[in-house]
Symmetry: C2
Subunit: 475 residues, 2 copies
């Protein structure tokens, strides 16, 4: 018999809260075919990209098409104290979508309209099911773009809920900096608007940023107003291979400390390069590599690139290669975004346990290098990619899900890594969120008084704990 799964281990207080038959009937009567209890649909909504998915699926799935739909589901769920779990595209890595206490999955994927583009103000308002690629496709003609790019083609609602970021955050910030306002359905089924389209405001509590990163535990996001940016006049991307991870990281640290306004600076270790080469049929040098992008006027892009090239030279960077055409650039960045999938394919049947620590930039080399040594010593296949300009990096431990020993080893590696990051005044999660898997880490990082404050806010805004219960902390 297998050992208990990690998910079961991490969520000891799981208690399935039943969805009364009468509520299911009411939902079916109201939503018709948009309310499903088919097992395949429920199972699809009961998992995400995280490694362990062994809890039962939600009892019901409702495909919402409007804020009013969401508000109706939540209001009824509130009456019966039934959990509701917002679902975008299912690309969470931390178990956010798992129905650990049962309930209703509200799929907002059909709420996928770009509601208004205000090009003159550099803002856009979208429904939560719009994905980041769709958004950029739809606003292409405006000369503007939305820079936040987690690996997956995630939904804007999900990205808001997890305070996501990606490769452009070093220059453009994360969802924390780029959500101007929200429409949210709260636990009572009421519709609340937060923020305005003004660029800044001192008007009352910052409900927008309280909601951003709250992982569906305080409300269902039904509309998002985002900042946009003018497409840079000039863009150039370059790769540079290094004799060691340390050399690549020290190059990064120096360019950040000098204030070079680089748009992207991504570390890809030699394992990732190998996996990406195999997956995407590329011929990148199988050495640690920085993948960089510069945005600005032609003159400033040239100047930035020269500065970085000079720093890289100092640290032994070789083969500084330019991606001159947009097609080449797209191919390179697609390769970076596919690193996770490339890695998972490199070991058939494996699952990836992804780490997500982020440390102050001065500690990045220390934190990374010790962790690389530990990963190498463990014997577990792994890859390492990093938004190193932000001090954020991800190990992916590629484990056999049926081998409890590998799982235990990977978890021990992650625990050591998180402890190290926290001791360096960093965070256990740079961009993935806490979800099911990092509650103990959050407690270690934030401390009991801060987590108690979060719980107090949660209890006040969701007294019956129906909004994505069992995530971030247990009540």
């Amino acid at each position: 018999m297998n050992a208990p799964t990690t998910a079961q281990h991490l969520i000891p207080h799981v208690q399935q809260r039943p969805v009364p038959d009468a509520l299911v009937a009411k939902l079916k009567a109201h939503f018709g075919e948009r309310c499903s209890t088919a097992m395949a649909v429920r199972e699809q909504h009961g998992r995400d990209e995280s490694a362990f998915t062994t809890v039962p699926p939600p009892a019901v799935v409702v495909f919402a098409e409007s804020t009013a739909d969401v508000a109706q589901v939540v209001a009824w769920a509130q009456e019966d104290r039934v959990p509701v779990i917002p679902f975008g595209v299912g690309s969470s890595l931390e178990g956010h979508l798992l129905a650990v206490q049962g309930g209703i999955s509200i799929d907002v994927g059909r709420m996928n309209r770009v509601l208004s583009v205000n090009a003159d103000d550099l803002t856009v308002t979208v429904q939560p099911g719009v994905t980041r690629k769709q958004l950029n496709e739809e606003i292409k003609s405006t000369g503007l773009f939305f820079p936040i790019d987690p690996g997956a083609d995630a939904s804007i609602g999900g990205m808001s809920a997890t305070r996501a970021s990606g490769t452009n955050a070093v220059r453009y910030g994360t969802m924390r900096e780029n959500v101007l306002g929200l429409e949210v359905v709260t636990a009572s089924g009421e519709v609340v608007r937060t923020g305005t389209r003004a660029k800044k405001s001192s008007a009352g509590y910052d409900l927008t940023r309280l909601m951003v990163g709250s992982e569906g535990t305080l409300g269902v996001i039904t509309e998002v107003t985002l900042k946009l940016y003018p497409l840079p006049e000039a863009v150039s991307a370059a790769t540079c291979s290094f004799p060691s991870i340390e050399a690549a990281v020290r190059t990064t640290i120096q360019l950040i400390q000098m204030g070079v306004p680089i748009a992207r600076v991504e570390l890809i270790d030699q394992h990732s390069v190998r996996m990406v080469n195999a997956y995407a049929k590329l011929g990148l040098r199988e050495e640690p590599m920085l993948l960089m992008e510069f945005h600005g006027t032609p003159a400033s892009v040239k100047e930035q690139a020269e500065t970085v090239q000079a720093i890289a030279d100092e640290f032994g960077g070789q083969a500084f290669e330019w991606a001159m055409t947009p097609e080449e650039r797209t191919r390179l960045w697609a390769a970076r975004h596919n690193a996770y999938f490339a890695a998972v394919q490199s070991r058939p049947g494996c699952r990836a346990i992804s780490t997500d620590t982020c440390v102050p930039i001065s500690r990045l080399a220390d934190c990374l290098l010790i962790s690389v040594a530990e990963a190498e010593a463990s014997g577990i296949p792994y890859f390492l990619v990093g938004h190193v300009g932000d001090g954020n990096f991800h190990f992916g431990y590629l484990i056999d899900p049926n081998d409890p020993q590998e799982r235990a080893t990977a978890e021990a590696l992650n625990q050591q890594l998180v402890a190290r990051a926290l001791s360096m005044e960093g965070t256990c999660s740079g961009e993935h969120g806490i979800g099911l898997h990092k509650m103990d880490f959050l407690l270690a990082e934030a401390g009991a008084p801060a987590v108690a404050m979060m719980r107090t806010i949660k209890r006040a805004l969701d007294p019956h704990n129906i909004m994505n219960p069992g995530k971030i902390f247990l009540l």
Copy 2:
């Protein structure tokens, strides 16, 4: 007999909550000379820079020297349900410091140490009484600076509490973007830490940003970790006079929409220029003017300035003049920061009622020009300055505080302005906060459900309403 003052008018539910003699005695025994009930000290702590200060002063002032001091005062205040009001340097413009329900003013001005500078990480941790000028003076040798600059030499604690910004926000953001973490004493006297020194995080609710802008109503800030920036390699400042406010504003809108990374772009109307000339013995052309600053490498600064000069030319900008030396620059910016004081001096005995709307950049010209016409028509002396790159601007109506008619006119102007800004999806407060004077505006802007959510959070975290009660909203 005078008409009721605005402050009394705006805060109808004022109810002085007594500070028991036994508590005063306990505070005096514990803090000795650092606890004062002298009327002069109390009065100094019962007012700020806002126009009307007619409520009684706090009953007691405690000069805190440590987090433990603050925690002790709050814990005792909690036992007796006595209000506590944090006090930095007293430069609030919205009545934040007024003891509308009595209580204890906790002066954190002596908590003025820079605790740690982490130059390699571009972060600094300070006590709340450190002022923005002191901070920049103390870190001068590191090659870094802290850009947020409200007009006054405000305390970092107060700037955090009001989500302040200033002239550099167009490039560097506001306190919302620049506070990485906090230490806060909550209503129970407990010490909570929020955030880490990592540049980004998805670890749990964003308590840092909930506290930033909460105006002392959720806790007393006792430590602040801030982002710093490398001093730009090159800085140049320029003034440009325009034939009209509209021409200056249209220049600004275009440069923002083009994505020029300008560091500062301030509008100063002809009245402000005249007042500043008189106050600071300058000889600026008494026409609407943009005061600009460019940060970057020498080449990028040159390029930015050329772009802006070309745009300004299109709109009839004249006399584009460079401030070449650091001394000239300092003199210009000091003049800008002193505009408020220059204006108040221009009409002896007057008080300034300052507006603080912020609108999406595309609506800036419309919002501003109608409001200028209204101000001109009113006959009230006024001045206009604006962080126009952010869509934020301030009218200062210079009224005779003893003339109820002038006061009523100024308030009517402000009400029309706020209504206009809200109709344009803007905010009633770009950077000053709500305090006592804008509660109705907040309700109009955010809507009843959002303000109800703020109240719910407040009640949960401060059940006896002792933390700066009567600000932002009434409970």
